[in-house]
Amino acid sequence: MKKVSRLLLEYYLYEYIINPLRIVVSNRKSCAGLVLLLGFVALAIYGAFIHVDLTTHPDRAFIPPTIIRLITGVKSSVPWWKYPLGTDWKGRDILGMLAKGAAPLLEASLCAGLITVVVGMCVGLTAGYLGGFADRALMWVTDVFLNIPSLPLYVLIGVLMLKAQMQFNPFLVAAVVSVTAWAGIARAIRSQVLALKTQPFVELARSLGMPTAHIVFREILPNVAGYIAINFIFSTTGAIYAITGLFFLGALPINPTQWGVMLNDAWKNVFIFGPGLYYLVEVILALALLQVSFVLLSYGLDEIFNPRIRERYFKSAAAKLLEARKALR
């Protein structure tokens, strides 16, 4: 019995963690994306352990980043390892602020991606599989949310939340920015399910009297899993865009370490005071790199769910499962 549990554990480990990772790493693009993304995760973890001084220190305002300090050779009293990305107009450490803001942004956007995908999947699967009245009703709801301009709606909700004196909470923000996002995914999954429903293997399962849950989750879902995974990534990048945009516009409670607030801060700085272009460039680069890392990662996800590529990596895992089953008998 102990052996079986170990084998099963190994199977799950290979099936869901090691093999997908091997596929991602074997693809140059998704490997680059993964490395970049891990960099951001490391930044977020670093942010959890440091203390960032957010008070005003005019004496150390506008210290340029280390690279510029080294290139231009400006003699300053600040050692090179201090403020690697420079300081802003209040003398706050930019790297520290970026690090502090990374964790809530990643949490909120990944959570929003998850909500979007799960809601979209449930609606799409139900509408496509049941058909008839349920399909028409669900698609009507989907149409309603597809027709709302999403960001203006999020802004209205955000401002109403501000009015109600709500505090910043990553999960609440995630819920706000996935109010309309699921609709497009639901529609796409529904049309895929409609196409899959008439496939021979689904009809066979139905004529064999398989329970609905089996048909939906074992026959249909694996065929749209790749699409869902890709859309999880794209929903996440969409959520990063929306959350940062809402902070940029001031539609969520202001918090100086949020990237959107920092972008706004840097922009106003450059346009009103003049110096501090490096601050703007750094925030823009951080945002752009985070988005690109997700896009690059999506290249590998496509392959994880591609049966031809899977086969190469998953044979050993399947063998473990077979062995476990044999041992059980």
Partner: protein
Amino acid sequence: MGLRISRHRDEIIYILKKLGLALSILVAIITLVFVLIKTLPGNPYQMYYYQLLMKGYPPNIAKSYAAHYAQQFYKMMASVGIVANESVFLQYLGFLAHVFTFNFGYSFYYKQPVSQIIASALPWTLLTVGIGLALQFSIGVAIGMVLAYKRGTKIDSIATLAFMAWRAIPDYVVGLAILYVVLVYVYGGNAVEVMGVMSPSIKELLETKGLTLQTLGPVLIDIFRHAMWPILVYTIVGFAGWALSMRSTAVNVLGEDYVTVAEARGLPDRRIATRYVGRNAVLPLFTSLMISLGYAFGGSMFIEWLFNYRGIGFWMADAIWMRDYLVLAGCLLVETMAVVASVYLAEVLYGLIDPRVRGT
């Protein structure tokens, strides 16, 4: 006459059915906005009073402030048909009636009806967003066609990767970069030449002399010179998505039998690319073009705010700082109406062109 109607019965039924659907969607969205507005505190007097007390105001001053605030609040709500002391259903009916007559209430911050703000702002947004969308769509579709013909080559894979990455870059970031470069390197920091809908000198000219034949030329040129930058941002930001969509639909069409037949008939490649592949691949994109109007409105909030361009997006972004939710709700509703109307038009046209769509 009877014959003619019966000949077009299918089409007419289709148009009416779609109209009913569009109206029901509109009513649903208005209901959603009503529910959102109703989440505001039911008793503004108490809420504001306690807020002021917590801020350390003496009770008698807090009381008078809160009373004033509550009075303004009830007036504001009444201006969109949400009359206090009425039942929720009557409030809802009042709100519906106000919205369907384009009456979005009164903005106490800007001291004018919201519909007036929107009427003065809407033309600018439609001008820039409309041209921007048309440009990004046509450029994207052209590039997508080229990529579909070059599928499987090195250029295709590099361009696909680059476009996918580019599509994920936020528009406000691109807008900021363009604004900075244009402002500093092209106009040498002269903000009025880049920002706003027109330069102050031209505005003065327009106000003193009015729109005559002499002023028409300079005014139009100035308007174009200012609208150019938001349009440029919309175009640069959005074309990549269309190129990717067009690439995938065109690749599907290229595998169709009728394309092979056209090639076998020895038709010129140009004709096949435009008449056979292009037309059939573009058709499904039109509905998403109309839906993307909603995204473009979202982007216009950032771009118009950055460029100080007094369109709808600008007023929305401005109203955020003022917490003026009637302006926000009014702008949202007008934008929704625009999206619903254009999606409806696209679907009706699509259904008339392609009878297969009508069945579903």
